[in-house]
Each structure stands twice: as C-alpha cells, then as structure tokens.
C-alpha cells in the first residue's frame, strides 16, 4: 500500500469549511424532514386507528408501500418523475425553491413518516384498553382521557424509537447526494475528488456521522434511565 497520509491538507484552506457546510446541510435537511415526518406520521396513525375503512386501507397501504421500497428509488421518483403528480400551484412554488433540497425533504419525510406511523400505532396500542375505559368512567371526556392518560404514557414508550428514527433519518440523508444536495457525504466526495486524499476525507466525515449518532444514542440511553427511574419510584 503506497499511500501517504496528509491530514493537514483536509483542514487547510477551503476543505475544512466544506465539511462544516456539508454538516450544516445534513442537519438542516434532517431537522426539517423529521418535522414533516412527525406530522405526516401522526396523521397516518390517526387514519389507521379511525373506524373509516377506506382511510384505514389508505394508511395501511401507504405504510406498506413506503416501507418496502428503497429510499433511493423514492428519491429518484420524486426528483425525475413526480412532475405529473403535483398540482399546478405546488409546482409553481416548488420550482422557486432549491429544487434538489426540497425534493430531498419530500422524499425523506414521506419515507420516514411510514416508519414513525408504525411506532406510534404500536405505542398507542400497547396502552391497555382498560386505561381508557377507567378514565372515561371517572368522568373524563374521550379527548381529556387521551390528553391526560393515554398519550403521556404512549409518548413515554415511543420517544426512544422515535429518536432512533431520527438517527436513521440523519444517516439516510446521505442519499440526497445522488440528486446533488451538498450535504456531508457529497462534500466528502468533493474533497476526495479535489485532493485525491479520500482516506482522510472519508475518515473525517465518518467521524462526524459517528459522533452525531453516538450523541443521539447517549441521549436515548439517558432518557431510558430517566424513565426507569420514574417507573421504579411509583
């Protein structure tokens, strides 16, 4: 192996900035996408738990389809093929935006929403039915019972899986490079192409991803411990 390392090069001049820019785009992309994914995921769960058959089928079909097709294909679908699907006013708005970034947000949030919907549903279903019945019997309305009894418990259960969905989203955002979003992986390739020092470039970007995800899983663990603590106190 005849390869000379040059770590200083990676942090010299522009390249250090590129990594920072890439990380910023990755975080923006993930942050915005998780917001929309949570909204859409909650909506899908509500539809799934409703009693209206067509809505239930729609939600179930959505979840199955988006979970069982590759994100890569979905990104290409939205980027190349979505034109006839969108209504006129949305297209007008979309083409004024940074189209690659916007497409990546659409793809990432519609994909992640399917996974979030599954977590949410199983979280709510894991609360025993008697909880709702008992709280209704004490005189709470359905909405009050949801608000004060069911949802606080359900959310405590699903926050760790939700955070790991967020973690997956951060990692999945690397696929946005295929349509030209300048996020972290894109920048690593860019540095590699300019310096031919791929080893250093990929090490730096891997370390950035790694510290991000270690940080997030540290938070999950702390939260879990916190919950266990609350559980044992009662």
């Amino acid at each position: 192996m005849n390869y000379t390392f040059n770590w200083a090069l990676i942090f010299s001049g522009e390249y250090g900035r590129w990594f920072v820019d890439g990380l910023t785009v990755t975080l923006e992309l993930s942050g915005i996408s998780i917001f929309f994914a949570l909204l859409l995921g909650t909506l899908l769960t509500v539809l799934r738990l409703s009693r209206v058959r067509p809505l239930v089928w729609f939600s179930a079909g959505y979840v199955e389809f988006f979970r069982n097709t590759p994100l890569m294909v979905q990104i290409f679908f939205w980027y190349f093929g979505s034109d006839p699907v969108f209504p006129e006013f949305f297209k007008k708005w979309l083409y004024q935006q940074n189209i690659e970034f916007a497409t990546a947000i659409i793809a990432l949030s519609t994909y992640t929403a399917a996974f979030i919907a599954e977590e949410l549903r199983s979280g709510i279903l894991s609360i025993p039915k008697t909880q709702l019945e008992a709280s209704r019997a004490t005189g709470l309305t359905f909405i009050q019972a949801m608000r004060y009894v069911i949802l606080p418990q359900a959310f405590r259960i699903i926050i760790p899986p939700l955070i790991s969905q967020f973690l997956n989203l951060i990692k999945n955002s690397s696929l946005a490079m295929t349509i030209g979003v300048m996020e972290l992986t894109y920048m690593a390739r860019q540095v590699e192409a300019h310096t031919f020092h791929g080893f250093e470039a990929f090490t730096v970007s891997t370390l950035i991803y790694l510290s991000l995800s270690l940080l997030v899983s540290f938070i999950i663990n702390q939260y879990n411990k916190h919950c266990l603590h609350i559980g044992s106190r009662r």
Binding site: M72, F76, F77, L210
Partner: protein
Amino acid sequence: MEHFWQWFSGLFANWGVVWKNFDYLLVGAYPQGPLGGLAMSIVMAVIGIFGAFWIGLAAGLMRLSKRPWLSWPALIYIEIIRGTPLLMVIFWFYFFAPLLMNQSVPETESAIAAFIVFTGAYIAEIVRAGVLAIPKGQMEAARGSGLSHTQAMVHIILPQALRNMIPSFVNQFVSLTKDTSLAMIINVNELTLAARHVYTRTMKAPMEIFLAIALLYFAICWVLTAFSRRLERRMARYQARTSHDR
C-alpha cells in the same frame, strides 16, 4: 371531475417505455452481456445476507464474551458501523479495497463486501439479543450436566436462539434487498441503475419507470415481510407453549 380524469389517464400514458425495456430491468444485458437489473440486486442481496450471517454470528458471540479482548473489538465494530451511513461504508470499500489489495477490485465485489460488513453489524445485535433471550437456567443446566461453555453454546443455546431469530433475519434480508439500490452510486448495474439507464436513454416516462421498479422491489420485500410476520406469530405461539411447560 373531467379534469381529474384527464390528469389521471395522462399519468399512466407511457407504460410502453417500461414494457419495451422490461427485460433490461429484469436481467440487464444478460445473455449477451453481464448480468444486471433485478437479478443482480437479488444476487447481491443473497450473497450479502449469507456473508453477513457468519460475520454477525461471530461478532455477536464475541460481544457476549466476558473476555475484554474479544468483546471490545466486536463492540467497536458494531458501534462504528451502526453509526455510519451505508453510503459511507460503500465508499470506504470502493476507494480503499484497491489500495489495500494493490490491485483493482470490481465494483460489484466491493459493493458486496460493503453489504456484508454493514449488515453483519446489525445481525450481530440480533444474535446478541437472541442469545440473551434464552433463559439463564438453560446454560446453567447444560453446564451442570458436564458440558463445557462452548459445547453448551453450540448444542443447547444457539439452536434455540437461532430458531427464534429467523424472523429478524428475514427482516434484515428485506432491508438488504432495499439497500442494494445504493450500489448504483459506484456504478453497479443493479435494478435502480438499470432504471436510470432506461430513463437517460429514452428521456421519457420517468414516473412510469421509477414506479415500475418500486413495484418490483415492493413485490419481493412485501412477500418476505408478510412471511416474516407469519413466522413471528408462530414463534410467539411456540414460545407461549414452552414457557407454559416451564
């Protein structure tokens, strides 16, 4: 309403492009040229899951070991891989396999190596959880009857644990099948790249093309998912029965 139908029928006007290139999407240029398309995706997924099983089994058992020199390397491997996007791992193998081996490595091989190493870390966690789920009394009883730790592991614990893990392995296989689409980034001609080829060649019907391959992936993954769900239910029933005996 008329507008809607116009829009709706316009959506699906160009399926001809897909049908004309359907054999290319399925097997690439196969009889005349190299294998590609869906067949390539499946080949990569099958080889990948097979390799990942052995690496995952080894790493999972090492992680469970009480000897730090065995468990630490496994822990570091698992944590690094699980915290890194697959795309990164693919780039690592693509750029550094040739450097390490001092010769060029074909894209397909380096992609498969990346899949094996990546999926191995996830399988290791499945193996660890599976072994930990077997009641402690099993190990104690096996050791008490005179078996060594290794013998007890191989003959008593693992057969039970692996059987319970089958649904998780199927799910991992589904993930890997979807993940093979990332190999397109280093020019492996699997289904997703084949679709992009068809699109760049015809410059027509991108929606139909990408929808068609999404349906192909979906058909495979959904059947497997449904299968694993059935297995999971059966495992749960089996466990309920045995835990009743205990």
